[in-house]
Symmetry: C2
Subunit: 374 residues, 2 copies
C-alpha cells in the first residue's frame, strides 16, 4: 500500500465530549468547513491544522511546506468580521451554520496580502475568477493552529459513499487491488471521461471515481445530480469488481496547475497509486495553459509526488475510428470527431434534446435532461 503524503496518516477526529467547553466560537465558511473535515480525517496528511504563517509563506513561494514536503495550496482559516477577539494560546471552537464541527488551538495570527496570494496560487487577480472572488471575500487575517474535528458524516449527504482515507485503504486491500487510479471530477462522466478512466483501468487493478462534492461555483452541476449519474454509469458500463465510488469532500479552488498537484497528493492519502490529469485540470475560463496542470509535476521528483500522474489529451468519439480516441491516437480531422461544448450541451438539455450517444451514455443524458428541466 502506498505511503500517505509525509509518511503518516493524520487522524484529528474527536468525539463531542472531547471538545473544550466554555471557550470562544469562531465561524467557518463553506470552504473552511470542507477543509476541517479533510484535515480531520487525514485526507490532507501531513497537515494537522490550518497553516501558520511559515507554512503559508513557504507554500505560496516554494510550493512546499516549511519542512520541505511538497504542498501547493494554502489551507487556511480566516478571521471573520463578527468573530470574537482571540489571542495566541487560546483554544476555540469552530462552527459552520450554528453547528460546532471541531476546535482550533490558536498558534499564529497573521495578516496577508490576498492579492499576492491570488497572483501566486491562482496566477491571476482577475475578479471574474471564482477563486479570486473567494479571496476578495476574506478579511486578510488568517489564524493558524492544530485542529480537531468531529466526524459528522452521518448528517452529511452521500453517507454511503463518504469513505475516509483509512476506509478506502481497507477497501482497496479487501478488493486485492495493488494499483488504483483516482479520477477527480466535478462534472458528470461523459464518454470522454469514461475513455480516460478505462484506458487507465487497462493498466491498473482498480478505479476510484472520486467526485469533489465540497463547495463549487454556482453554475457547476449540483453534486446530488452528479452522484446519481455516477451510480448509474458505474452500474451499466463498468465492471463492479474493479471500480469504487466515494466522494472527495474538498472545496474547488479552480487553481489549475497547483490544484492538480494538490488533488494528486490528497488521493495518495486515500491509498491511490495513479491519478488522472487531463487537459486544463481544475481550470476555469482561459486562465491556464492547456497542459500547465500536467507540466507542473515536472517541478518535483517522482519520489516526492509518489502517486503517478497519468497525463491525457482531450478525448472524443471519432466516426472514422469508430470509437473513442484522442489526438495522440486518431489521425483524422475535426470534421470526423463528435465535439460538443459544455454550453451547447446545456442548451440541448434545456431544450429537451438528448446529446448523442457518442458524447454521453443515453442513461446519463436522460438524467441530465430531467435535472436541467426541473
Amino acid at each position: 500500500m502506498i505511503q500517505p503524503h509525509g509518511g503518516k496518516l493524520v487522524n484529528r477526529t474527536v468525539t463531542k465530549d472531547q471538545l473544550p467547553e466554555n471557550v470562544k466560537v469562531l465561524t467557518l465558511n463553506e470552504r473552511e468547513k470542507n477543509d476541517l473535515e479533510m484535515i480531520g480525517c487525514g485526507a490532507m496528511s501531513p497537515l494537522q491544522g490550518f497553516m501558520n504563517s511559515a507554512d503559508y509563506n513557504s507554500v505560496i513561494e516554494k510550493m512546499r511546506l516549511e519542512n520541505g514536503i511538497v504542498w501547493t495550496l494554502p489551507v487556511v482559516f480566516a478571521l471573520k468580521a463578527d468573530d470574537p477577539t482571540v489571542t495566541v494560546g487560546d483554544t476555540v471552537l469552530l462552527k459552520f451554520e450554528d453547528k460546532i464541527r471541531g476546535s482550533l488551538k490558536v498558534e499564529d495570527i497573521f495578516s496577508v496580502n490576498l492579492d499576492h496570494e491570488a497572483k501566486e496560487t491562482l496566477l491571476t487577480n482577475d475578479e471574474n475568477h471564482p477563486g479570486v472572488q473567494y479571496l476578495k471575500s476574506l478579511s486578510g487575517t488568517y489564524i493558524g493552529g492544530l485542529i480537531t474535528a468531529l466526524d459528522l458524516r452521518d448528517s452529511e449527504p452521500f453517507r454511503d459513499h463518504r469513505l475516509i482515507p483509512e476506509e478506502t485503504r481497507v477497501l482497496f486491500q479487501e478488493k486485492g487491488w495493488n494499483s488504483i487510479v483516482a479520477f477527480q471530477t466535478r462534472n458528470p462522466i461523459h464518454r470522454a471521461h469514461e475513455y480516460l478512466q478505462k484506458v487507465s483501468l487497462e493498466m491498473v487493478d482498480g478505479l476510484l471515481i472520486h467526485p469533489l462534492v465540497g463547495a463549487t461555483k454556482a453554475d457547476d452541476i449540483p453534486a446530488d445530480v452528479r452522484m446519481l449519474c455516477y451510480e448509474t454509469i458505474l452500474e451499466k458500463y463498468y465492471p463492479a469488481d474493479r471500480t469504487a465510488l466515494s466522494v472527495f469532500p474538498a472545496a474547488m479552488r479552480y487553481a489549475g496547475p497547483r490544484e492538480a498537484v494538490f488533488h494528486a497528493l490528497l488521493r495518495k492519502n486515500y491509498g491511490c497509486t495513479h491519478f488522472i490529469v487531463g487537459r486544463d485540470h481544475a481550470g476555469v475560463g482561459d486562465y491556464y495553459g492547456t497542459f500547465d496542470a500536467q507540466e507542473i509535476f515536472d517541478n518535483f521528483t517522482p519520489e516526492e509526488i509518489d502517486i503517478i500522474p497519468l497525463k491525457f489529451e482531450h478525448a472524443f468519439f471519432c466516426n472514422k475510428c469508430g470509437g473513442m480516441a484522442t489526438a495522440r491516437t486518431c489521425p483524422h480531422t475535426g470534421a470526423d470527431r463528435v465535439f460538443l461544448s459544455g454550453k451547447k450541451v446545456r442548451a440541448m438539455l434545456i431544450d429537451g434534446i438528448l446529446p448523442p450517444p457518442e458524447f454521453t451514455r443515453p442513461e446519463i443524458a436522460q438524467l441530465l435532461m430531467e435535472a436541467a428541466q426541473k
Copy 2:
C-alpha cells in the same frame, strides 16, 4: 534514451573483404541465419556470438547468462550432418543457401540433451509443438563462439522497413520520442491489437509496430501479406507522427513465457521503453497458461528488465459498450462481445466473406481476403 541490455550496443557487422579466406564453411539453417543477423546488428546485445556451453547451461537452468545478465532463450549454432570437421580455435565461414553471411570463431563444441532443452525452454517435449519439431531436427552438437555478420539487408525483403537498433534509436531521437512502446506481432493487426496499441499510445510518445519476419510456422500468415496490412492500417487509422513500422528479423520459437522476456529485452536494444505483452504471448496451442508470459516478468527486478512490460487482457468489441474493451473494463457478457476464432476468420476469408468491421478494419479484411483466395 534507454540503455541497451547489458549496457552497450553490440556491432559485429563486417564487410566482405574483412571475412577470412580459405577457411571451412559451415551451414546455417533459417533460424540460425536470422540469429546471425540479429547478433550482428546488436539486436541481441550483449550477445556477441553463438552461446558457449557455460552460457547455454546457465540460460537453460537460471534464465541468465553466466555473468548474471537476464537472458531466457538459447541462441545457438548446431553442427550439421554434412558440415566439415572443425576444432576449437578454427575460424569458419557461415553460409545460408550457398550465400556466405558471416564468420564464426570456434570457441566451444558441446553436445547437449535436446529433450532437456525442450522441456526447460518450451515447457514441453510434445512433437506437435513447432519448437520441439525444430529441436528434433538438430544434431545435438552446438558450436559456440564470436561471430561477424555481413549487412545483407539490400538483398532482403522489406528493405525500407529493416532498421537496425542504431537506426531505430536515431529515428526515435529525431521524432522527439522519450517513451516508445513496441508491439511484437506475427499476425495482421485486428482491432483487438489496435486497441492495445492505442491504449498504450495514450500514455507514451510513440508506437513501434515491430512485426517478426524471421522463420515462422507454415500456417502463419506470410510476412509480405502482413506488411501490406501494417502499411495500410497505419496509413488509415494511426497518427503518422506517433507511429513507426520496422521489421524484427528474428525467428519465432513459440516458447511462450521465456520468449516474452526475450522479445522484450531485444526491443530494449532497439530503444523501446515499453513492451506490450498480451495473453499467451508467443504461445502456440495450449502449452502455456494464459498469463504465464506476463507473470514470468515477476522473476526479475524491474531494473534488470528495464523495459516496462505492459500487460493486457484479450480485447474485443462490445456492442453494449459501443467500442473496444477487455474484461478489465467491460461488465457485459460474452453474448454482447464480437468474438471470432482464428479458424473461423480463415474459413470466412476463403469463402469470400469479410469479417465484420468490429473485428477487423474493412481495408485489412479486404487484403486478407485477396491473399486467402490466391
